[in-house]
């Protein structure tokens, strides 16, 4: 693959979530080599954080793990995790991408993934993967089924990096894989097409002053509830609130937190909150039978197949109380969170003394998406969602030939739509390769 002018029929997928995985598998199975670049130490993305998925309520990890494993073992897919794209040059058929491989402080060639280092690491710090609720180690993998199953050291939490002593992991490692001297490396990859699938983030709960600027421990966001409900999460799947570990009996879910709020936050609809909130409330009821779930909503948008039925089942069979209105304020009163909402159907103010509040916070683009767009020469909207070539008829292409979009990087999507979008992006790449 020297620069001899031939069209390079090798693709890069940026982002290893369900969209990136789907696009990579499609391309790999079509016979093309794929470089899958992921920022985190392992692939799986947001879906790995989820407990169950709507509208089937099947376990997210159970459906995802076969895909991550297949990706990790695929002969045509090269995983480049814990890495970020630095710069791009060239054009369709001949992109040259420089990638920063972040220092893991672990020699992944030697590491067998035995996990001893994680067990023995003495550092305990809030786990970002568990949305700050559980405690993680300074040397970690994202999950026991991580692909690749190789740990990294977070120097901001590592005692050795912070205080100059410890080195427990180095002592315990049976294959001498720990390397505190490791540095970031820049590597180059030549590809003919790029699929950008960098995913989404959530507007931080700290943004909402009226809900206590994120300082109320029992006020959490949707991803945090996923972790609470997840068997691999900080409570091993029991619904216990973060502050005191009690089982909450009154749980308030608030849709459109930061979405559909053009004046203060995001003007758009985040598309998934109606469904995942219904799912949360139903899963909560499955575990806490005598508890009550309240959902504040402005509208219920359940346009997918089987979605409306899913919502209605929650109301009819599980007694979830939907309240049509927004929540103006939440504050603490002893052990309770006082929720001031409204029920516009009766025109009344509604007050709930809640044990736990779950915010369905707005989906936002990754904060680095705009910068990445600039490097790729593609466009992003004001928020940072990457712009497709044409809103209706060219939903996966960009203005640059050879660069395609997949998943939530382009705009909020649920899993089914993200996968369909990724499938479309992969087929566009194949069409491009087939032309040359």
């Amino acid at each position: 693959m020297k620069g001899n002018g031939a069209f390079v029929k090798r693709a890069m997928v940026i982002g290893g979530g369900i969209a990136g995985i789907s696009a990579s598998l499609d391309l790999g199975n079509a016979g093309y080599d794929v470089v899958l670049v992921e920022k985190l130490p392992s692939i799986g993305g947001r879906m790995l954080q989820l407990s169950e998925t709507f509208p089937t309520l099947d376990c997210a990890q159970c459906t995802l793990t076969p895909k991550t494993v297949e990706t990790g073992q695929h002969p045509r897919i090269k995983l480049v995790t814990y890495s970020e794209v630095e710069g791009i040059e060239g054009k369709a058929g001949d992109f040259s991408v420089s990638i920063r491989r972040k220092a893991a402080y672990v020699d992944w060639e030697r590491c067998t993934g035995c996990g001893l280092c994680q067990q023995k690491c003495p550092s305990k710090n809030p786990s970002e993967f568990d949305r700050g609720m559980g405690l993680g180690k300074a040397i970690y993998t994202l999950s026991p089924q991580a692909v690749p199953n190789k740990p990294v050291i977070d120097p901001s939490h590592c005692r050795y990096f912070k205080e100059g002593k410890c080195r427990v992991c180095e002592k315990i490692c049976p294959v001498k894989a720990i390397d505190y001297e490791q540095k970031d490396r820049l590597v180059e990859e030549r590809v003919g097409a790029i699929v950008v699938a960098v995913g989404f983030d959530l507007i931080p709960k700290e943004s909402f002053g009226e809900y206590g600027y994120g300082e109320l421990p029992d006020l959490i966001d949707g991803l945090a509830f996923e972790r609470l409900n997840s068997a691999s999460g900080p409570t091993t799947g029991e619904i216990r609130r973060p502050s005191d570990g009690k089982v909450p009996k009154e749980v308030v879910f608030i849709q459109c937190t930061g979405s559909r709020d053009p004046e203060r936050y995001m003007p758009y609809c985040s598309r998934v909150c109606c469904m995942y909130t219904a799912k949360h409330a139903r899963l909560y009821k499955h575990k806490v039978h005598d508890g009550q779930a309240y959902i504040f909503y402005m509208d219920i948008r359940s346009t997918g197949k089987g979605y409306e039925e899913f919502i209605q089942q929650g109301m009819e069979e599980e007694g979830i109380l939907y309240l049509r209105g927004r929540v103006s304020r939440i504050f603490r009163d002893g052990e309770k969170l006082i929720v001031w909402g409204a029920d516009t159907l009766t025109g009344r103010k509604v007050e709930v003394s809640a044990d736990l509040v779950v915010l369905a916070t707005a989906m936002t683009p990754r904060k680095e998406a705009k910068e990445l767009a600039k490097k790729l020469g593609i466009e992003a909207d004001d928020h940072g969602f990457l712009t497709e070539a044409e809103r209706k008829l060219r939903p996966v292409e960009t203005k640059v030939e050879g660069i395609y979009l997949a998943g939530c990087a382009q705009g909020p999507k649920d899993i089914a739509d993200s996968v369909a979008h990724a499938n479309a992006a992969a087929s566009k790449v194949q069409a491009l390769f087939a032309k040359h």
């Binding site: 009996k249 009154e250 005598d290 508890g291 009550q292 309240y294 209605q312 109301m315 009819e316 007694g319 979830i320 109380l321 049509r324 029920d343 159907l345 009766t346 009344r348 103010k349 509604v350 007050e351 709930v352 003394s353």
Partner: protein, 137 residues
């Protein structure tokens, strides 16, 4: 006015009683308002049938029992026949009536003695028997 909600209130005895008498699940209500839209008498009601369901669900017992809505319902079943969730709203209206009429102290909604002279002679049996069943304890 404010509603303070608790799980006990959401599953309040009053709503349970209405559900039991009517055989309907109030949680199934979309609050779409179809019942109110098609009701031939909603023009004269203080709140629409859909609101009466909402009030009941939220445990606003005194408020909902204080409105004329369910007393004015003529059991024409137009609401029932068009409800997208299959809720027999007319049964809910009747259940609200029953909650009042069945209270210990007699709570007749109409006073026969106050009918104008000759009224009962004029009205067909079918109307006053039907009316007595709907309005007398």
């Amino acid at each position: 006015m404010k509603i303070e909600l608790t799980r006990q209130k959401v599953h309040n005895e009053f709503a349970k009683k209405v559900e039991l008498i009517s055989g309907q699940n109030l949680f199934a209500c979309y609050q779409c308002g179809n019942c109110t839209a098609g009701c031939p008498i909603s023009f004269a009601m203080e709140i629409g049938p859909h609101e009466a369901i909402r009030y009941t669900l939220l445990g606003l017992e005194e408020e909902v029992l204080g409105v004329n809505t369910f007393w004015l319902c003529a059991s024409c079943l137009q609401c029932t026949s068009r409800c997208p969730k299959g809720i027999d709203i007319a049964r809910v209206m009747d259940a609200l009536r029953m909650v009042v009429l069945r209270r210990k102290e007699r709570r007749d909604h109409i006073q026969i003695s106050e009918f104008p002279e000759g009224f009962l002679e004029k009205v067909p049996q079918i109307a006053f028997i039907s009316g007595f069943r709907k309005f007398l304890s």
